[in-house]
Symmetry: C2
Subunit: 225 residues, 2 copies
């Protein structure tokens, strides 16, 4: 969604997401409104929806699987409560998926096709809403087909393409690209080389995209080692 | 800092922190301004500064040590960058501790004494600033003594008390209480039974303290299992 306001220059904001992540759901339902509001004044932002599978990323980690699958009950309970409160905070609906996490492979392959054809944002929003607001099994082909029909797409054709080796290879390359860019979780936002992780950083990512910085303090900070 | 405005009722907001945590530094330098602004309208908030050691909490975990000590280089690099950006976002100074994480045991024992005598907030802010803005070794007795003198305290007396068994037992009890209350990281904020984790949730915790809820959507969410 390139805007035409501002100083005429344009910057890409990559939105990396996994359909199984509730924090990505929060970001997906917020990002376009925030981007539209931000680009009124500064550089225009080209928003790129980039589907991703966290599974292969977590599998390559030395430790620390998905925070939602960690063994510590206190943190697991907390994260569910945090999502509930955050949905209320943003005014977003929430029905917990009756199976969690839902397999996101099929929907992610379709999302890659969709992103290549310019309807990636609409498809992704529908899948997130199906998973977290309607408790529909997004791992099931009939559910994805219904979403595709709602978007005016030929479900049979798209689902057949999603099973082709080229799409599988494209998804593998997408995950490799994410890792190469330093992405270790989702949602993540990338503006050129600047990485922002988590729904909580969406606002900062947009500020960075528009202005190329955060805040006014230019004191150089020295990272250790 | 009980305020006297609002409807006359008062609610406690527990601020749990470890001096080694940079995210706790962000919260410590922001919390009093935010609390003061919030209590102008609603219930008044009694802010309780509750020092904590994360070490014993992480040691009892099945997995996942401190996020800053995890093995994944991408996440470690990211978190340092995130702290730098967040300091600029809030307009807070940052000089990375030349040793990280700094041992917080001594300062935490003194902070427990300070909290019991009503100067816990001032001491805690000074320790955080020493660690993250001035790169002073807060694990060293001379540094803590200097902070105490700056606050008009008898450093020799306080440091002697900090080494007494009663203070050690009090700190162990404090950690046990944190775990019993579901705390698994820092900073954490507790309003009655409602837990908020991370500097990013400070604003929500204050809203909860003042109003007892987040947002307007009262749709009950059903957590799995």
């Amino acid at each position: 969604m390139p805007a035409t306001s501002g100083d005429g220059s344009e910057v890409s904001l990559e939105f990396w997401f996994d359909f199984a992540s509730p924090y990505a759901y929060l970001a997906a339902l917020r990002i376009e409104t925030l981007v539209a509001a931000a680009t009124r004044g500064g550089r225009s932002i080209r928003l790129l929806w980039r589907p991703l599978l966290l599974g292969p990323i977590f599998q390559r980690r030395v430790s620390n699987p998905s925070p939602f699958q960690q063994a510590e009950p206190a943190e697991r309970r907390y994260r569910h409560r945090d999502i509930e409160r955050s949905c209320r905070h943003y005014g977003l609906p929430l029905t917990w998926p009756s199976t969690y996490p839902r397999g996101s492979l099929l929907a992610t392959r379709v999302a890659l096709i969709a992103a290549g054809e310019g309807w990636g944002a609409a498809f992704a929003r529908s899948v997130f809403a199906a998973n977290f607001a309607a408790d529909l099994d997004i791992a099931s082909a009939p559910v994805v087909a219904e979403i595709l029909r709602d978007l005016g797409r030929d479900a049979a054709v798209i689902l057949a393409r999603a099973a082709e080796p080229a799409v599988k290879a494209s998804l593998a390359a997408q995950v490799d690209e994410a890792i190469a860019k330093g992405i270790f979780g989702a949602p993540s936002f990338l503006v050129e080389d600047e990485l922002f992780w988590g729904n909580d950083r969406l606002e900062q990512a947009i500020v960075w995209a528009v202005s190329g910085k955060i805040g006014e303090d230019a004191t150089p900070a020295m990272p250790p080692g």
